[in-house]
Symmetry: C2
Subunit: 466 residues, 2 copies
């Protein structure tokens, strides 16, 4: 990976007099995390494509995805958006489309390479232009826009909008249309989401409600500026993580939104690569009912709470899978670490402690160095105020190996264990690891997923725009 | 610096099949930040030493400092301690000494190499043993302990207490006493504070109150796990940054504490190297009145508010100087960056935004890469909730060069400027830089000092204990 990008020019400046050569750790290949799926695994009633329109320089890199629902039933849409005060234009526009339509939308358009964030009035016009151009591709287009838009890439630069519109308009039936519903079509759409990602993130699964089978498929992207905090459209907004989940189940707009809000808290809002929250983070879900018949009612939390609960849990579990892929592909990551916090007085406390450990530069560099420096875990745990004071003598910390061997207690009731350093090293040299912290203050728990902090992270982010 | 430590063994493991060689940027030498001072610059009535007692392996590294007040007037003491829930034993013990004695103490003992943190009952016994051994060195010792203690280094390991006590006891008048009041004595004490520091941090200055001259001198240490949040002893506690400030002025214990609390908020609590708060952060100040005569009253905020105000401002400015030295020596730092936030509704808001920008991994890696990626500054600014919602159209961001040339506006009223990238590069390639953010919501402001995030930071912290 290094050689593909070469040595950044800025370090070269020093090469005449004062450089030092260091040998860095290789980043594990992530290619095995992407494998072909049968066409039948994907939800019915969607056509997709991914193409190169010219936002990115290299012609082999895809930068535009178009996703359309072709279902004859109404398509429900829900989304969670970044809570950042500097919401990018596509975030503002997608919120408005959703609100105007009462939670109905049939299309999603996505570009990578440029975030269309902090781009003023021009940015808003460009985002609306993407929406309107995509609207025209829908079967039986309505007067109100039915397209949601997402962008990811550099902040503060305007989109090459003419190229993007040309790319969208090529998808009209009379044009060079590449929309399809095969695995290849889904995969090209997923590739068009990518920025510093090293592999496309695409997953599909089936689930059952009341004996009927439905499908869920989704794609996401993200490798840096990953520490989302997303809420429903009506809330105060913050998050560059983009995700799009599609299902052929039928569910009412309000129930789709409440299921998504629950799922995002326990998936995308519980991952961190670098602790930085983006201006663009967006997760969209569409439910087009293509697997149901015309008269069948939509799933709704009041009408059929049990069906709703099943759907919500399926969505949450699927979202967690997609979210974990982002951490696996974290910029420069060599480790995948699950942080579990148990025994908290509230879920918020558990989530806050797990987040603090997951974002500590000292914990993350120790993980990269494969140094079982658990003191840094403790320091991070103690550094944030909780709703109830932390009592050090109740705290337990352990490493849980992922190979099924016995956990290794590091701190028991606030007192350090005589740690077998060889055993600790054995656990920490594995690619996957779980850190478990028990606070002893209550019964709430939270999980967070994070990665380590490597030379490669610094290299990627010191040299992103050049 | 790299060659002195060699290539960490953990990266070497990969050298057979998959290493990559990268050329890294040289870390600027910091030696010019430490220069000799005349003996007369230091406050009267103190004797100090720094020695090697054996906490650190290499015999040339000092690891124990002893500081005694020899003044015949009462010595006031005040301190700010970490707010981390896992307070190290020396923090707990120093708080107790200060409280028992109503803000009087005459000695400080400090070890580096081991933090005596998360060390249970043994740790408490060891910290008390250091205090009692140092008490016996004082002229005219009292029954109550008058020594404050600080430790810094690895967390979760117990002190080699026998070696430390031997080192302290060597300072009895009949022993191998090295206590003195020359520049060399002050400098050895400062060296004994050091862990990953690359130079000893020692400063002295004089100031006047009501026509009389007093002296202030201080030393501090810290290069990593630097993101202090310290409060007075009575408050809820959090912060490894150690500092000790000594003056020969006479000031009442309560006024010394309130001046220190004010000063620490605007100095040590406004710096960040890596965003990690330590279990040991402690700043101690002693005022021994050695420059005053026996009948002269102590400065007190109620008795003489103007004298108190002068003292408080001198202490704050001096503390800011000492705090900035820590950032200059930040682990792996190649940049010294001042973050100024103006136009906030409250000081807390201004401080929170400045802190968020100062700890953003993306902002810090861009600074290392000398990439004027101001979008990351914006994303960080917008990512935390303020007491009043941020209005993007009121926000201004600029780079202020430190060479006196014109500022470079990047964002004006929420709209991006057409930035002259060559000029931006010119500013960002300087070692010193100021980032200014104007929120347009009020009149409060705060300053923060931070550094960049380099390969060297990752190397130091991936390999700290080995």
């Amino acid at each position: 990976m290094f050689s593909a990008r070469g040595v950044p020019a800025v370090w070269k400046r020093f090469s005449s007099s004062s450089t030092t050569t260091i040998v860095t750790k290789a980043i594990p290949s992530k290619t095995h995390l992407h494998a072909p799926l049968p066409d039948s695994a994907f939800p019915k009633g969607y056509v997709l494509t991914g193409l190169h329109c010219g936002v990115k320089k290299k012609p082999e890199l895809l930068d535009l995805a178009v996703i359309l629902s072709t279902s004859s039933r109404p398509t429900s849409a829900a989304a969670c958006f970044t809570r950042n005060a500097f919401k990018a234009a596509p975030v503002v526009v997608s919120q408005e489309v959703l609100q105007r339509n009462g939670g109905r939308a049939r299309a999603v358009v996505v570009n990578s390479g440029c975030a269309n964030a902090v781009t003023g009035k021009q940015g808003m016009e460009d985002a609306w232009a993407m929406v309107r151009a995509t609207d025209t591709l829908l079967p039986d287009p309505q007067s109100a826009s039915e397209t949601l838009v997402m962008s990811t890439g550099v902040i503060g630069q305007t989109l090459p909008i003419a190229k993007i519109l040309e790319g969208i308009r090529a998808q009209v039936p009379s044009g060079a249309r590449t929309l399809g519903s095969t695995f290849q079509a889904w995969e090209r759409a997923a590739r068009a989401f990518m920025t510093t990602d090293t592999f496309p993130k695409l997953r599909a699964r089936t689930f059952e409600i009341n004996g009927k089978t439905y499908r869920l498929a989704g794609m996401d992207k993200g490798a840096g500026m990953i520490h989302p905090d997303m809420g429903p459209p009506s809330g105060q907004l913050h998050a560059t993580l983009l995700g799009c989940i599609l299902t052929d189940a039928a569910i009412s707009p309000r129930s789709l939104q409440s299921a998504l809000t629950y799922a995002v808290d326990r998936s995308f809002n519980s991952i961190s690569v670098d602790g930085d929250m983006s201006t663009n983070d967006t997760i969209i879900v569409l439910a087009n009912g293509a697997a149901t018949t015309a008269g069948e009612p939509e799933i709704d939390e009041e009408r059929d709470p049990q069906a709703y609960e099943t759907f919500k849990q399926e969505l949450t579990s699927f979202a967690a899978d997609l979210a974990q892929l982002v951490v696996r592909d974290g910029e420069g990551a060599t480790k995948f670490v699950t942080v579990t916090v148990d025994g908290a007085p509230t879920y918020k406390d558990a989530h806050a402690v797990a987040s603090r450990i997951s974002t500590s530069a000292l914990v993350k560099t120790a993980l990269f160095g494969e140094d079982a420096n658990w003191g840094r875990i403790l320091a991070a745990t103690g550094s944030i105020p909780l709703s109830q004071p932390l009592e050090p003598s109740r705290v337990n910390v352990s490493f849980i190996p992922t190979d099924g061997t016995a956990p290794l207690p590091l701190l028991v009731n606030g007192e350090p264990e005589k740690v077998d350093e060889a055993r600790a090293k054995e656990i920490i040299t594995q690619e996957d690891l779980e850190i478990k912290v028990e606070l002893g203050l209550g019964s709430e728990s939270a999980k967070y997923w994070t990665c380590d902090f490597s030379y490669e992270y610094v290299r990627i982010n010191g040299d992103y725009r050049t």
